[in-house]
Amino acid sequence: MSAITDPPKDGFRPSMLIYDSRYRSMTIQVVALMLFMLGVGWLVSNAAANLAALGKPLGFSFLSDPAGYDINQRLIEYNSQMSHGRAAIVGLLNTLLVAVMGCALATVLGVTIGILRLSHNWLVARLMTLYIETLRNVPVLLWIVLMMAVFIESFPRPNDFRGDNATASMYLNDSVALTNRGFYIPKPEFFDGSLIVVLTFLLSIVAIYVFGKWSKARQAATGQILPNGWIKLAIFFVPSIIIYFIMGSPIGLELPVLKGFNFKGGFHMRNSLIALWLALSFYTAAFIAENVRAGIQAVDKGQSEAAAALGLRPNRTMKLVILPQALRVIIPPLISQYLNLTKNSSLAIAVGYMDVTGTLGGITLNQTGREMECLLLLMLCYLIISLSISGVMNWYNESVKLKER
């Protein structure tokens, strides 16, 4: 009666790789992978052979040769006698500087504009729509160039500050000069005893954090709410200011002064940095605003109605109910916007800002003729920066996302 026969137990035959559906997909993948590797190998060997034929074998020793050119904005010590490698690092730091400044400003602007776009005020909402549509529909390179052109044409030249009938004047009690070469602002000077003031300041920041935790725990336990903002503000300023005067004002200000061709002293925020920073931030803010709007609209209307029914005021509703839920939708696209901004900063050379593309991928490449090496290094730089940004933001995303209990 047993009609059940075991499936044929033949051994494995090569033809099964194609005709047996259990193996077929595996076969296709292996073949595709091999073809892909062959293609990559061909490209690599082709590049290597061509470079060898040109007499330019791949090598990175040029990085230790003297660079020979100067860089205007340098966050670390650099002069023209230092190496190409050092110049690349100076450029890399400039890239990071404008990326960090850009991401910060773009976030603040983007969140504000995104929320305002949902305003019930017809004029405000339409103005924000206009902003978003204008900014994001014009290439960022044009914004950068425009920003620079406006900058150098509209602000006064350093020369205009000179003489008895100067046409321009400094602001804030002669401490800030806005020129078309950039903004000159006072720089703090540290004398003896300033260390204690700085330490006090750092301690008060820790204190703010501790206070925040304590206040939250207290609220959870008793339900009472303290005026947190005011208390934190007081902790931020009061102790440092008291210690500052007790120590006899050990921190002074170095003011910019017009000397020779330019202002000397103080911080010099170059026109190229400001133009690039503002253009990148305004442009990216338009995209972030849309992300924020989408995130807020993704929160069910019932949530705000329920919050209102509980008696929460609108700003608390936004802060405690809407935004925490909206963040889950906002963060992932926000990561891409940060990455975009960082990569767009490679357009810096359009305004003469010496970022890593300008030093390593520009002058160094041009003076040494090592296109392949410079571009590989450049790609590696951007890859590492981008992966780091994604890593940090993904970690933040983990901390805000819906926790299932």
Partner: protein
């Protein structure tokens, strides 16, 4: 279907890249035009007019080469290149030759693997400042903001000059001459520095050229000339001897006015005869027709005519011959004999 097209494209691309290394001269003859790299626009040297027709001192070299090889000075396609992109464009084969105020240096010749075929303009780096600044020497420029084209030898000369004289400056890197002009005129930099000829050309386009002065210091040697890739000596010879033919023509008194007559039949001067192909077979040696030099000279005239027409004293740029006079007039312009 799509896959086949794709594979076909890949195969074609592989084949093309395989054949691209054949002789440039043959390539040029086959495609029927010379692809010439020029600057993005320096008045007098290389500038496109309202109709998009390129003209200028450097452009004339390209046209002469096209005339020598193809018999038609208009058979040139121009690729505008910046100081940064020019070498990559030439090395990758995007252009056949570069005639773009490029300084002949050791490392460009030896390390970047280019062949400079000669010098068509002996230049040096200078500084231009507004008269109102009251600066009379480059040594007074301590602390000045200097606009400089990035990717050039001037960038390195500038760093060296200020370091040697122990004065400080703030470099403002810019990509093209036009950007430099904009920043300089807006006062975003005090000084504009590039080759003295470039300064003269830039100043000529200003609304009020007299408000600006070029300082007396010339801080470097900048022999500018056309260049080609290493490793294709035949093509290098064609460009080199085309340039030399223009120079020789001036030395021998052949102009665009009298060349028709001089090339009709062999005259008394054997060198002119060899140059114009009425005697000997120089053209054949180069792989060109016998009247190659005649065509090159007819294209825009001899070296002196090209100079006077584009950048000479009667043009807005107003450069005197100076170092660029013939050796017989005390200059450096000199060609090996056509023999």
């Amino acid at each position: 279907m799509k896959k086949t097209t794709f594979l076909g494209t890949v195969a074609a691309a592989a084949l093309v890249s395989g054949f691209a290394s054949a002789g440039t001269l043959d390539d040029v003859k086959a495609k029927g035009f010379v692809q010439c790299g020029v600057s993005t626009g320096v008045v007098g040297f290389a500038m496109a007019d309202a109709n998009g027709v390129w003209d200028g001192f450097d452009v004339a070299v390209c046209r002469a080469v096209a005339a020598a090889v193809l018999g038609d000075p208009q058979a040139v396609k121009f690729t505008p290149t910046t100081g940064k992109t020019r070498f990559t464009a030439l090395a990758s084969g995007e252009v056949d030759m570069l005639a773009r105020n490029t300084t002949w240096t050791f490392s460009r010749d030896v390390d970047l693997k280019f062949t400079f075929v000669g010098v068509n303009y002996y230049d040096g780096q200078g500084f231009m400042v507004p008269k109102a600044l009251g600066v009379s020497s480059a040594k007074d420029l301590d602390g000045a903001t200097v606009c400089i084209q990035t990717g050039t030898t001037t960038e390195l000369n500038l760093a060296d000059y200020f370091r040697v004289n122990n004065i400080s400056y703030e470099p403002v890197p810019i990509e093209t001459n036009a950007e430099g002009q904009q920043q300089y005129l807006a006062g975003a930099c005090d000084v504009y520095t590039t080759d003295a000829s470039g300064l003269a050309a830039t100043r000529a386009t200003f609304e009020k050229p007299d408000d600006h002065v070029v300082l007396p210091e010339i801080i470097s040697k900048e022999p500018l000339g056309p260049l080609v890739r290493h490793g294709d000596d035949q093509w290098g010879d064609v460009v080199r001897w085309t340039l030399n033919a223009l120079i020789a023509a001036e030395e021998l008194g052949i102009t665009s006015a009298n060349i028709g007559e001089a090339s009709m039949k062999a005259g008394n001067n054997p060198e002119i005869n060899r140059l114009l192909g009425t005697e000997g077979n120089l053209g054949e040696m180069l792989g060109l027709s016998a009247d190659w030099a005649k065509n090159a000279i007819t294209a825009g005239g001899n070296y002196g005519e090209v100079f006077e027409k584009n950048i000479g004293e009667n043009t807005p740029i107003g450069l005197s011959r100076g170092l660029n006079a013939q050796w017989t007039d005390g200059g450096l312009i000199y060609t090996p004999p056509f023999r």
